[in-house]
Each structure stands twice: as structure tokens, then as C-alpha cells.
């Protein structure tokens, strides 16, 4: 029996959205990439499943995702919106252009790592240099 709540009544709006529906068990998430009406619950009834994503890395250290590109193309042609994580995933997959925040996040991470390495390198160099200079000095001096 279809129970139509007031949220889903016709004539109030709503659009098709390609997003992640969470499934799985405790401490074991699993996402299904799904085309659904935007007013539906996250894990509720959807129009079509377009793929899946396993957020936990597998034995080889890979995060595996499956995508049905043809149907995705169809839904995008019908005017479906994308959620942000879906956009990022598709950007990383190469089907859509890379999301700006992916690039920005990577840059920030790199900068942070560099900053972390520099203080380590500076004291490390500071402690290593007198050692090397004394070593070379003693080595060169016959």
C-alpha cells in the first residue's frame, strides 16, 4: 500500500537527485549510488540504482566503486542534480571534471604536510649540520 505523506504530494516540487543511500551494518557502511526524488528519505524508495561504493578499503588497499555510466548519462540528460559526494566521486572516476574542493583539499593537505616536514627538517638539519661539519673537519684534517 502506498502511503503518500504530505511531503511527497504532487504539485509541491521535488526533483531527481543522484546521491548515496547508506546501507550495511554497524561499523560497516556501504553506499548505493541511487537516482531518487529529492523529497524521499535517504534510504527510501528510489527510481533506479546506478552503482555502489564501498567506503572501506579492501585487502589491497583499494576503495571499490561500481557505476552504470549509461544510465547515469540518461538521468543527467533528464535533468538530475548531483549531491556533493556523488559529484566528487564522479570527478575522481573521470566521468565528470574534478570537483574544485577535491583539488583544494589535496593542495591544503600537501601544504600542511610540507609545513609539518619543515620544522622536523629544520631541527634535524640544525642537529645534523654541526655533526657533519665536525665530521668533515676532522676527516679532512690529516
Amino acid at each position: 500500500m502506498v502511503q503518500l505523506g504530505s511531503r511527497l504530494l504532487r504539485g509541491r516540487g521535488g526533483h531527481v537527485v543522484i546521491r548515496f543511500a547508506l546501507g550495511g551494518c554497524t561499523n560497516r557502511p556501504f553506499f548505493r549510488i541511487v537516482a531518487a526524488n529529492s523529497r524521499r528519505a535517504r534510504d527510501g524508495k528510489y527510481l533506479e540504482q546506478l552503482g555502489c561504493l564501498d567506503p572501506l578499503p579492501n585487502a589491497h588497499g583499494e576503495k571499490v566503486a561500481g557505476l552504470n555510466l549509461e544510465r547515469l548519462r540518461y538521468w543527467l540528460g533528464c535533468g538530475a542534480q548531483l549531491s556533493r559526494p556523488a559529484e566528487k566521486l564522479l570527478g575522481l572516476a573521470g566521468y565528470l571534471p574534478l570537483h574544485p574542493m577535491t583539488v583544494t583539499g589535496a593542495e591544503r593537505l600537501r601544504r600542511r604536510r610540507q609545513r609539518e616536514q619543515q620544522p622536523e627538517a629544520a631541527p634535524a638539519d640544525g642537529s645534523a649540520e654541526p655533526g657533519t661539519s665536525t665530521g668533515t673537519g676532522t676527516g679532512t684534517a690529516p
Binding site: R73, L76, G77, G79, P100, T104, R111, R112
Partner: protein, 222 residues
């Protein structure tokens, strides 16, 4: 330019000037002498208290500041977003065109054989022709009505003009008549002379009339 850029103005602040509640919040890249002007705020999660419960005393002096924004990074990110959206909309348009094309082909294929298509085209042409005919008639009618309207307007205008002229003429005539009569008016200057005149020429206004309406002006007195 943007609300986010306004947050950038108070940059990193020397250590003693800060509120004491910062201690362990120093980020890795900030150095010993500087601290960020914002305090890392806790993620707002509604745990025990609802929104109607009053905040705790320990939070009395708490100042919530928005996250800091680097203006250069922001500009770069905005430019990237703009290009990303451009590409995305172009892709969407392409996909849409593809879907429409497929639908059209499907419809044509499902439409049937060549005869049906031919018939369809013929009927469409006939319909177009009928429409054209109706349009021609309608335009003709409209044109005639317009001309009629113009003619009527002209007539009315002419009639008005004529009426105006007639009215003016009448008024002129009246004025002239009055001027003529004014010569015979009795003015204070003429008064004496006219009285003399009247007294000198007595007129007899008496008359007799019988039941048949015959008037007799000659009386016994005159």
C-alpha cells in the same frame, strides 16, 4: 566582495593578546609567536540539551567566530567552481540533447511505416493550408474594420468641426444683433431725450378682439 572575505581581516594575532581559552588549539603551521584570531569551536551537536534549554555558565564568555578564510585561496576556489560549473552545464546540455534525439528516433520508429508518415505529412500540410486561409480571411476582416473605424472617426471629427462652426456662427450673429439693438438702448444720456420723444408721440396700445380672434386696432380714442 564576499562575506567570506570580510572574515579575513583580523589575521593571526600575537600570543598575549588572545583569550586564555586557546591553549592546545594551535595548528601545525602557525609558529610559536602567532595564534589564529579564532578559537576552534566545537562541532554543534545537540546531545543532552534541546534548543530551549539555557546554555551553561562555563559558556558565558564564549565568543563563536566563523572559520577563517584565506582570500587568495578563496578567489582560486571560486574561479575553479566557475569553470567546473561551466563544464558541467555543457555536459548536461549534451546529455539532454542526446536523450531528446533518442526519444525522437524512438517516436519515429514507433510511428509506423512510410505510408503513415506520408499521410501524416499530407495532413499536416493540409492543416497548414487551412490555417493560412483562415489567417488571410481574418487579416482581411481586421483591415476592413480598421478602415471603417478610421472613416467613422474622421466623420465624427468633421461633424464636430461643423457643429463648432455653426455654434460659433450663431453666437456671432447674436452678438451682432445685440450690437444692433444696443443702438436703440436707453442709456442715462439718452434718458431725457427718449422720455421727451415718448411723451411727444403718444401711442395707442388699445385693441379689441372678438371670440373669432379678429383684432381691431382702430378705437374710439384715436
Amino acid at each position: 566582495m564576499l562575506r567570506a572575505l570580510r572574515r579575513c581581516r583580523p589575521g593571526p594575532v600575537p600570543l598575549p593578546a588572545l583569550p586564555p581559552a586557546l591553549g592546545p588549539g594551535l595548528g601545525p603551521g602557525l609558529g610559536p609567536g602567532l595564534c589564529p584570531a579564532w578559537a576552534p569551536r566545537a562541532v554543534p551537536v545537540r546531545g543532552r540539551k534541546t534548543r530551549h534549554d539555557p546554555p551553561a555558565k562555563s559558556k558565558a564568555g564564549r565568543v563563536k567566530l566563523p572559520p577563517p578564510v584565506d582570500p587568495e585561496e578563496l578567489l582560486v576556489v571560486l574561479e575553479r567552481y566557475r569553470q567546473h560549473r561551466l563544464v558541467l552545464s555543457a555536459l548536461r546540455a549534451e546529455f539532454r540533447a542526446e536523450v531528446l534525439q533518442r526519444q525522437r528516433e524512438e517516436r519515429l520508429a514507433a510511428g509506423g511505416s512510410a505510408e503513415e508518415l506520408e499521410e501524416h505529412r499530407r495532413l499536416m500540410a493540409w492543416n497548414e493550408e487551412q490555417n493560412a486561409r483562415q489567417r488571410a480571411r481574418r487579416e482581411e476582416r481586421l483591415r476592413k474594420e480598421e478602415e471603417e473605424q478610421k472613416r467613422r472617426k474622421l466623420e465624427i471629427a468633421e461633424k464636430q468641426a461643423r457643429k463648432m462652426e455653426a455654434f460659433l456662427e450663431e453666437k456671432e450673429k447674436e452678438v451682432l444683433q445685440l450690437q444692433e439693438e444696443a443702438k436703440n438702448f436707453i442709456t442715462p444720456e439718452n434718458l431725457e431725450a427718449r422720455i421727451e420723444e415718448c411723451l411727444d408721440n403718444p401711442r395707442n396700445y388699445n385693441f379689441a378682439i372678438d371670440k373669432d380672434g379678429r383684432i381691431v386696432k382702430r378705437t374710439v380714442l384715436s
